[in-house]
Amino acid sequence: MESANELLTILPLIIIGAAGLFVMMLDAFTGSARLAYLATILFSAAALAVAVSDLFGPMGESFHGLITYGGTSSFGMVLVMTGTLFSVILSRDYLEKTGMHIAEVYSMILFAAFGMLLLVSSNNLVTLFLGIETMSISLYVLAGLVKNHKKSVEAALKYFLLGAFATGFLLYGIALLYGASGSTFLVDIAATEDKGMIYWAGVGLLLVGFFFKISAVPFHMWTPDVYQGAPTTITAFMATASKAAAFVAFILVLSRALPDARADWSDVIWLFALLTMVVGNILALVQDNVKRMLAYSSIAHAGYIMIGLAAGTDAAYSAVLFYLFAYTLMNIGAFGIVAYYEWHKGYDFTEVSNYSGLGFKQPIMGVLMSVFLFSMVGIPPFAGFIGKYRVFAAAVDEGLISLVIVGVLASAASVYYYLRVLVHLFMKESENGIVLSRPGTLYTASLLILAALTIFFGINPGVLTDLLGSFWTVQY
């Protein structure tokens, strides 16, 4: 049966979509956040397992070319579901301790994840738009979860208003591209013959929409406020899953809809990559709030990833995918530990000076934070280093040496703000007399798994890089 097989190609989507509805009903009938949490973990793990097995499956298109599956899309799904699963696991302890543990959180996370899954498997601009909107609307709600806190409400409103603008740009771009090519399918856009004003305007607006979602400078204004205002584990979810999804979709669009125009958009992305790295890193240097610092650091990371997009070769795309994986691991980990420290004093205990002397109070957390931060700096033997190395190498191979030099100098500057956290954790004396409780077993275990993966893929990246490389050599 053709249609049943087609359904199998979007199995993770179906699981997560059903899970979202199920968890919402569960909430309506039992009102138990515990149950919702358990159900979410089970469904997410199932979707993750399916996505992982799809990695080794065939690649192709389904639903009359609206959906693409296998290869890059499956890897995008793995990224999204990894982000979702770990954020959910970390969320429970954090939200319980800060008094925000309600079942709706989980259904909104699942709906957002559904949007992301759709986004990474879109082969058509309309599918892509649906994915982005489903994801964004759920995220607007999640950002405003702390209803009685000014910062959280501000974050939600800001995110919503700016997000709406960006969506407008994106949609207008899609419309113009449709006008120029007569189709919304990515492959048809690639085949556009008349590349006139309308076509280029469409491409430009599309890029702006994506730049907003991946928070490239100068479309990054929302990121620090939203990351700071949202509950920390939700921030982890937004920073990893939604960003990874947006990047994967960006790669799909660039490689499938605009491959011939690479020479043109490459320069544009070159410029924005440069801006993003420089501005992101410089602004991160002066942040006193760890969540805000991590927000700017995620902007900076977007800049490094964009170096790979600017290179635009197969090797560069697979390097970007690896980078996204490393980025997901270390960011959830870092936010998870921020959340852990935060819950001892309630919401907003995230100034870097709050961290003085905490490292030795629960050494395991301190050590894990060091692993994640050193990985973000890009120091071997952690996965972040390999990601950076491969992206930079792909760009050097394409002759983008000056951009790479800016990249390494920017990441040298980034050392300062990452180390600052470690300096406070380990090298300053504690002043506030805070007593750290032991985190839950599952909480510690998931952080340990993240750290173990960060180290494993730093020492032995070959397993993954071979797989990612194979996505691009096979023609779908």
């Binding site: 030795f360 050494p363 060091s370 050193f374 700096v377 890009g378 120091i379 071997p380 033997p381 280093f385 390999i386 190395y389 491969r390 930079f392 190498a393 050097v396 191979d397 040496i401 790479v404 030099i405 390494v408 100098l409 990441s411 040298a412 050392v415 300062y416 180390l419 470690l422 300096v423 380990f426 090298m427 300053k428 020492i459 032995n460 990246p461 070959g462 890089t465 071979d466 990612l468 490389g469």
Partner: protein, 563 residues
């Protein structure tokens, strides 16, 4: 033996993990001592089985599978003449460093010793790595523990010191990473069927010929990173700070091992990878080396803090190493290698002794001491030996290295002037000045401070950890050939090979395609004169026979050169 090499490298790392489950501080200390002792004992067979006549290849090689996907980047370790002595120095110093922190470290003991052990694995890896990429990874592995060692257990200004140390080093090394990637692709295109490679054997193969313009940029990028690490004047400003603020063990490891990574990298990678650029820039580096020698000595002279004085003397000593390497002859490079070992021993000992004084007196200011020779006769003797070795008194190890380097730079064809040696010799005189003056103020004269009357002499543990260093200080001083013979053949081969490849590249270069600055820098007409001839001028030959006594190698060289 291949397995043994890997065991020696990773045993400390294993020990560091072991320390995580040990709760008692005393057990932590004993375990680290045991692990480091075991590492040292296990590394001895590597030294004894080492075939000193083998050149152009490494021994005990482990070559792993490529681990970075489709790129030819693999785990590759082994030892050769260039790395053997430094590798042994690292395993030798480790138990001493552990012992020296036995009682001075009181907080977070397990953390401290596990950092030391991780640092040791990183350092051993740096010296054993034979893949440029692995070298980079091991190098960064040493940075993290060093960051924590200085930052957590250091002095009052430790945070500034450690952040400065970390960022300063990283800036250089990240730029080098870009150059490394470029080299990897270039080597892949030329000698590895288009597959990215950082295999040391391929990078030094004669078919791998980087163009002169490329070489210049890559040389500067690599050189910048290594200059910071050594550190060569004017990139030295992190060093005195890091040395002063670090705990004793940190200073010792920094001086004895970590700084050697920079000089070792120059000899191992910078010179062979970019032969033409290395020869063209040799005078510049030699000038920087000489400036470092004199500048370090002058600044050391005015220090009020003993530890800072030793730190600046480090800059001075490392200037010698740089000068020796860029003399581009066997004597100079041999001197540089033995000087690295000497500096590790004598400066390491000095830092340990300063640490012992500090532990008793809680001060490092020269003015706070005076006349303590009466209270601490044993320490005085040890201090005197280490200090005299550092000055370069004949009969002790410092003399051998400095003498060889001076002879090498005096006769150097590449440098082409004896003035380098003349100015460097001034540094030796200055060293005698600041060291003896400091020693006199600290140890002799009347006791001016009441507290100093209560000082106790060093105990058995402290004597036990200093005596091995003293033995080697004297041993190298009296019989240097026991040590220099390990590197002799390999160094000679390496320099010869570098010169040959430089000539080949210059020969193939077309002067019309080069920009004007490159033409000024490089002599693109085929070179006939070889630097080797200088070695066989009368004075030099006598010197090398006198200092290293390995006539076998010399004779072979002579035959090869038709002399």
């Amino acid at each position: 033996m291949e397995l043994l090499l890997n065991i020696v490298i990773y045993l400390p790392l294993f020990g560091a993990l072991l320390l995580l489950i040990i709760r008692q501080d005393d057990w932590v200390r004993w375990t680290s001592l045991l692990i480091t002792m075991a590492t040292f004992v296990l590394s001895l067979p590597l030294l004894l089985q080492f075939d000193i006549s083998l050149t152009g290849t490494a021994q005990y090689m482990t070559v792993g599978e490529p681990f970075l996907g489709d790129w030819d980047v693999k785990y590759m370790v082994g030892l050769d003449g260039l790395s053997m002595l430094l590798f042994m120095l690292t395993t030798f110093m480790a138990p001493i460093v552990v012992l020296s922190s036995w009682s001075s470290i009181k907080k977070h003991v397990a953390g401290f010793f596990s950092m030391l052990l991780i640092l040791q694995t990183g350092s051993l890896g740096v010296f054993a790595a034979l893949d440029l990429f692995m070298f980079y990874i091991f190098f960064e592995l040493t940075q993290i523990p060093m960051f924590f060692l200085i930052g957590i257990w250091g002095g009052t200004d430790r945070i500034y010191a450690t952040v400065k140390f970390f960022i300063y080093t990283l800036v250089g090394w990240l730029l080098m990473l870009v150059a490394l990637i470029y080299v990897g692709f270039a080597a892949g295109n030329m000698v590895n069927d288009g597959v990215f490679t950082t295999d040391w054997r391929l990078l030094t193969s004669p078919e791998f010929q980087l163009g002169l313009v490329e070489q210049t940029w890559l040389f500067l990028a690599f050189g910048f990173a290594f200059c910071i690490k050594v550190p060569i004047f004017p990139f030295h400003s992190w060093l005195p700070l890091a040395h002063t603020e670090a705990p004793t063990a940190g200073s010792v490891v920094l001086a004895a091992i970590a700084l050697k990574m920079g000089t070792y990298a120059i000899l191992r990678y910078l010179i062979p990878l970019f032969p033409n650029a290395a020869i063209a820039f040799a005078p510049m580096f030699a000038v920087l080396g000489v400036i470092g020698i004199i500048y370090g000595a002058l600044v050391a002279m005015v220090q009020k803090d003993v530890k800072k004085l030793v730190a600046y003397s480090s800059i001075s000593h490392l200037g010698f190493v740089v000068l020796g390497m860029f003399a581009f002859n066997t004597i100079g490079a041999q001197g540089a290698i033995i000087q690295m070992v000497n500096h590790g021993l004598s400066t390491g000992a000095l830092f340990i002794i300063v640490g012992m004084l500090y532990e008793r007196r809680h001060s490092r200011m020269i003015a706070d001491f005076g006349g303590i020779a009466k209270m601490m006769p044993v320490l005085t003797v040890m201090f005197m030996i280490a200090m005299l070795a550092s000055i370069g008194l004949p009969g002790l190890n410092g003399f051998v290295g400095e003498f060889l380097i001076l002879v090498g730079s005096f006769n150097s064809v590449v440098l082409g002037s004896y003035w380098y040696a003349v100015f460097a010799a001034v540094g030796v005189i200055l060293a005698a000045g600041y060291m003896l003056w400091m020693f006199q103020r600290v140890m002799f004269g009347p006791i001016t401070h009441e507290e100093n009357k209560k000082l106790t002499d060093i105990n058995a543990r402290e004597i036990g950890l200093l005596v091995p260093i003293m033995i080697f200080i004297v041993w190298i001083g009296i019989r240097p050939t026991d040590f220099t013979r390990y590197s002799e053949a390999q160094v000679t081969w390496m320099l010869e090979d570098t010169q040959t490849r430089a000539d080949a590249i210059a020969h193939n270069a077309h002067s019309t395609e080069l920009p004007a600055w490159a033409l000024k820098l490089y002599d693109v007409t085929p070179q006939v004169a070889s630097y080797m001839e200088s070695d066989h001028e009368e004075g030099a030959t006598t010197a090398i026979t006198a200092a290293s006594g390995n006539s076998e190698v010399n004779r072979r060289e002579n035959e090869e050169n038709g002399l």
